[in-house]
């Protein structure tokens, strides 16, 4: 029983990070119908930015995270700006473009920070809480709280503000949205900026949990993407549920199948997708393109 709960907790805390990554994937997809394959690498850039401001510039962790989100958001603007001429022309090229951007970002990180990577000490040094023999890291609770807050803020923005409503409109039907005077390009840019900022948030939170290196985006990107698909691609609550589900699935697979856990995780994922191709919250998935 102890193993069960400890595994669950381990899975949920890493799942919260996957959920943040999945949110970024879904936000860009629902607005533009585009899978941003550079998203995992943007997470990595965010992790480097945050760790640089935290370790080198000695800023408080929270401030370092906010700055990292701003800088990384700017990278989002650049990616969208470069790809904008392709929107409505050649969608495939746009997708390949995001893959290209991912490779560029990884190479840039290697140039700037070197290939070795760095360890980030936990900003919350308190000892883990002990609940009936089950250890809960205080930092994991911080990660969960921040992920929940970020989701709530994003939902508020999308549902309660004019700009958010405009983005929803573009997501539903971008031609109709253009007809009523919504600037589709700007809406796309906001989606990219928010997606990149979420990536930076995920990256800075995952830094102290794992190890920051130019290649860290690979695994996080794939798991986050799988989470987004599992939850229902394009759905905001789906991204959260899917991300956490992938984290938990991964942890339990690791416990039961040891060396074959990766295989089992994605086998289960495939079966779930075959049974329910639209994901958990699939019926709300926006279909564009």
């Amino acid at each position: 029983m102890q193993i069960f709960f400890q595994t669950l907790i381990g899975g949920v805390s890493l799942g919260a990070v996957y959920a943040l990554v999945a949110l970024g994937f879904s936000l860009v997809y629902r607005t533009m119908g585009l899978v941003n394959f550079s998203h995992g690498n943007v997470v990595m850039i965010g992790a480097y930015m945050a760790s640089t401001f935290y370790l080198t510039a000695k800023l408080p962790f929270a401030l370092a995270t906010v700055i990292a989100m701003a800088v990384t958001g700017l990278i989002g603007v650049i990616i969208e700006r470069v790809l904008r001429p392709l929107e409505n022309k050649d969608f495939d090229l746009m997708l390949i473009g995001t893959i290209g951007f991912g490779i560029v970002l990884e190479a840039l990180a290697t140039l700037v920070w070197g290939a070795t990577g760095r360890a980030v000490p936990s900003p919350v040094p308190a000892a883990p809480l002990d609940l009936f023999g089950i250890k809960v890291r205080t930092y994991d609770l911080v990660v969960l709280a921040i992920a929940a807050a970020a989701t709530a803020l994003l939902m508020l923005f999308l549902q309660r503000t004019k700009r958010g409503a405009a983005m929803q409109a573009v997501a539903m039907d971008h031609e109709a949205a253009t007809a009523v005077g919504i600037h589709v390009g700007r809406s796309n840019a906001i989606a990219f900026v928010l997606g990149a900022a979420l990536a930076a948030l995920a990256g800075s939170l995952v830094g102290p949990l794992l190890y920051v290196s130019p290649t860290m985006g690979g695994t996080l990107g794939i798991k986050g993407f799988a989470g987004a698909i599992l939850g229902g691609f394009g759905s905001i609550p789906g991204a959260i549920a899917g991300g956490i589900a992938i984290g938990v699935l991964d942890s339990f697979a690791a416990g039961h199948f040891q060396g074959y856990s990766e295989l089992v995780t994605f086998l289960v994922f495939t079966i779930l997708i075959v049974i329910r191709p639209t994901g958990i919250f699939g019926e709300r998935t926006v279909n564009r393109a």
């Binding site: 595994t7 890493l14 893959i99 290649t215 690791a254 040891q258 393109a289």
Partner: protein, 388 residues
């Protein structure tokens, strides 16, 4: 266009693009860049390739190895080279990927490199070995997997001991010197981890000990709650680690968070700064490390090496740099003694080379291993010191 057919076209186009890119990479071995490319000619610089991960997860190994080898080559070049010829050391990035490695093996063969240093990843070395053997290019590798020895290639040499030596020494210390029998294991299923798992299990079995827990994780795993909770329930005194630097660091960090106070024990990766920094200095306190290179202050030779290393790169030398330095010295000495031979003659010259190096005394046997001893150290205050 509907979503399914769109994504299908997308993926097929993506596949075509990827295939084209691969072809381009494979084909671009710089046509005409090297006029004497077939020539293992006897004038001009002596061409030696160093192949290691310069990008990707294992790039810290590649970076250390390059620094060590470069130091040795620069030393020889400053002293006038070999037979009046300078040594040209060219770096290739295998990305820690066996497929890239095999491509590079063909590339260096076609471009007239007479010897190769690296790689630090056993899996890549094993993938490259048949091609290097076919082209008669001697290779001084830095991995430690017994799998490399099993290939029985007369052109493959190791610049350090194999896992068998590391783990035999470690098991002997733990079981016989310390009298600990309550031992758990956590290893990964990669080439290194698998080698460690088998070598340590064998060393324990020889002392009629079965580990109380034997957990296997993947090389990509990030959360070890399940494996570590299982280990915690067995309450071992010592936990053996068979995983690379970063993963080992994460395992130790998470183990301490889960309230595991047992001592960790391992081999080469556990002696590195990357392991220490990933886990945190307090978390790794007391970790037992089986290593052929205890510290930079061991003797005059290691002190001189560490000083030169510090002067060249402004960082402290460690095991992998020292191994690569020894390996490169052995190769260069063999080149000198054989008067810049190539192919089989060079391999024979390497096999005949004796060196009193940083790691100890090298004398190669028929298997390509030249050194068979490690010592046990403990991490104390973030530094590796000889164990009592």
């Amino acid at each position: 266009m509907s979503r399914t057919s769109l994504s299908r076209t997308l993926w097929s186009r993506f596949a075509v693009t990827a295939a084209a890119a691969l072809l381009a990479v494979a084909g671009c071995s710089a046509p005409g860049a090297d006029k004497d490319s077939t020539g293992k000619n006897s004038s001009g610089p002596i061409k030696i390739a160093i192949i290691d991960a310069q990008s990707g997860q294992l790039s810290s190994l590649g970076a250390w190895e390059l620094k060590g080898a470069k130091l040795a080559v620069e030393e020889w070049n400053k002293a006038g080279g070999i037979s009046g010829r300078q040594i040209q050391l060219d770096v290739f990035d295998d990305q820690g990927d066996p497929t890239v490695g095999t491509n590079l093996a063909r590339k260096i063969a076609s471009e007239g490199y007479i010897a190769m240093i690296g790689t630090a990843e056993s899996a890549v070395t094993i993938a490259m070995a048949p091609i290097l053997q076919q082209n008669q290019i001697p290779n001084i590798a830095s991995g430690q997997s017994p799998g490399m020895v099993a290939l029985k290639s007369p052109f493959l040499f190791l610049n350090g001991p194999t896992s068998t030596t590391y783990d035999e020494t470690l098991a002997k210390y733990i079981v016989e010197t310390k009298g600990v029998k309550n031992i758990a294991m956590i290893t990964n299923n990669g080439s290194y981890g698998k080698g460690e798992h088998d070598a340590f299990t064998k060393a324990l079995a020889a002392r009629s000990i079965t580990p109380v827990a034997d957990q296997v994780v993947t090389t990509d795993q990030k959360d070890f709650s399940a494996a570590l909770t299982t280990i915690r329930q067995k309450n071992p005194q010592i936990i053996f680690l068979g995983a690379e630097e970063v993963e080992s660091g994460l395992i130790v960090k998470q183990a301490r968070d889960l309230g595991i106070t047992a001592t960790f024990a391992g081999a080469a990766p556990q002696g590195t700064p990357v392991f220490r920094d990933t886990a945190g200095v307090t978390a790794v306190e007391g970790t037992l490390v089986s290593t052929p290179y205890m510290s930079n202050d061991l003797n005059d030779k290691t002190k001189a090496f560490a000083a030169a290393y510090k002067a060249a790169y402004n960082e402290d030398a460690e095991l992998h740099g020292a191994k690569a330095y020894d390996g490169a010295q052995i190769l260069l000495n063999a080149l000198k003694s054989s008067n810049v031979a190539t192919g089989k003659a060079l391999a024979d010259a390497i096999r005949a080379t004796k060196r009193d190096g940083l790691l100890g005394s090298f004398a190669y046997d028929g298997t390509g291993v030249g050194i068979f001893a490690t010592t046990i150290g403990t991490i104390t205050g973030g530094k590796l010191v000889p164990a009592s």
